[in-house]
C-alpha cells in the first residue's frame, strides 16, 4: 500500500527517480521489519477471528451439533489429543462437509481442515494437535446445506509445543 502512495507522489511532484527508489526501499525495509516481528509473535484471537470469517465465508455461525473432547490440562502441548464429533446423519443429502480447526494463540492459528463425504459414515475424527500455550481451540463445522456450527474448548498447557512456538 505504501508503494502506491509513492507512485502517486511521483506523478504529482515529479520527484527524481533516485529519491523515489530510496523512499520505496525505506518503505520496504520498514514493512519487512514489521512483517518479521509480527510473523514470529503469536497469532492473536483477532487474527483467528479474521481467519475464521475467511473459512466460513462470513456465514452465520450457529451453536450446537459439534462436541469437542480436549484435555482441560495437558503436560505436553505438542501432542494434544483432539476428538471432534458432529451430530449429522451422514446421508447422501445431509452430511458434514468440512471441519476447520483453529488454535487462536499458536504462531499460525490454522491447524487443519478435514473434508468429509457421505462415505465417511460417521462425522467424527480423532487426532493430535499442537497447542503452543494455554488457549481456546475453535472448531467450525461446515454442513452440506452450507450452514456452519461453531464450538470452542479451552486447553491449559503446562509445557508448550516447543518448535511450534
Amino acid at each position: 500500500m505504501k508503494s502506491e502512495i509513492h507512485i502517486d507522489s511521483l506523478e504529482h511532484y515529479k520527484l527524481p527517480r533516485r529519491q523515489v527508489l530510496a523512499l520505496g526501499g525505506a518503505a520496504f525495509v520498514t514493512m519487512a521489519i514489521l512483517g518479521l516481528t509480527s510473523s514470529r509473535s503469536e497469532a492473536s484471537p483477532l487474527k483467528t477471528k479474521e481467519r475464521l470469517a475467511q473459512l466460513t465465508h462470513d456465514a452465520e455461525l450457529q451453536k450446537g451439533r459439534v462436541a469437542i473432547t480436549l484435555p482441560a490440562l495437558t503436560q505436553d502441548g505438542a501432542r494434544t489429543r483432539l476428538k471432534v464429533e458432529v451430530d449429522s446423519p451422514m446421508s447422501e443429502d445431509d452430511y458434514l462437509k468440512a471441519l476447520h480447526v483453529l488454535a487462536e494463540r499458536n504462531t499460525v492459528p490454522n491447524v487443519a481442515t478435514y473434508y468429509f463425504s457421505p462415505l465417511s459414515g460417521k462425522a467424527e475424527i480423532t487426532t493430535r494437535i499442537r497447542v503452543a500455550k494455554s488457549q481456546t481451540i475453535i472448531v467450525a463445522a461446515e454442513m452440506s446445506d452450507g450452514s456452519f456450527y461453531l464450538a470452542k474448548a479451552r486447553c491449559n498447557v503446562a509445557r508448550g509445543a516447543g518448535g511450534c512456538g
Binding site: 492459528p109 491447524v111 462415505l119 467424527e124 475424527i125 487426532t127
Partner: protein
C-alpha cells in the same frame, strides 16, 4: 528422521452398510521451518500438507475423507476416522509432503456373506 511405512489399523472384512473405524499413523517430523537446531541454524520446513483416503470400488474411486494440514498438526500425524462399507474394494491412503514426497499404502476390504435364512 525418515518417514516410516504408514500404519493402518482397520478390519479387513465387514458387512455391507457397516461403518468401520480406521486408524492411521505415519512417522513424520512435521517440521514447521521456524525451529532452530542446536547450532542456531534454521531447520528447513518439512511438513505433510495433505492426507487423502479413497475407496476403490468396481473401478471407481470414492473419496472417504481428506485433510489439509497446517502447522498445528503434531509430529507423526495420527488420524482416526470412519467409513461406510459400500462393497468389496481397496482403501488407499496417501500423504503428500513438502518437496513433492508422497507416501501411500493400500488395504483390501472384503464383504462378509449375509447369513442364508
Amino acid at each position: 528422521m525418515k518417514p516410516q511405512a504408514p500404519r493402518i489399523r482397520m478390519p479387513s472384512i465387514a458387512k455391507l452398510g457397516d461403518v468401520i473405524q480406521i486408524k492411521t499413523k505415519i512417522r513424520h517430523p512435521m517440521e514447521t521451518g521456524w525451529r532452530k537446531d542446536g547450532e542456531g541454524k534454521s531447520v528447513p520446513r518439512n511438513r505433510i500438507t495433505r492426507f487423502v483416503c479413497t475407496f476403490q470400488h468396481q473401478g471407481q474411486n470414492h473419496e472417504v475423507i481428506s485433510a489439509d494440514y497446517d502447522s498445528g498438526v503434531s509430529a507423526d500425524p495420527y488420524l482416526v476416522f470412519y467409513s461406510k462399507v459400500i462393497g468389496a474394494g481397496t482403501y488407499t491412503f496417501e500423504w503428500q509432503a513438502d518437496g513433492g514426497n508422497v507416501y501411500s499404502t493400500s488395504v483390501p476390504m472384503s464383504v462378509a456373506e449375509l447369513p442364508s435364512s
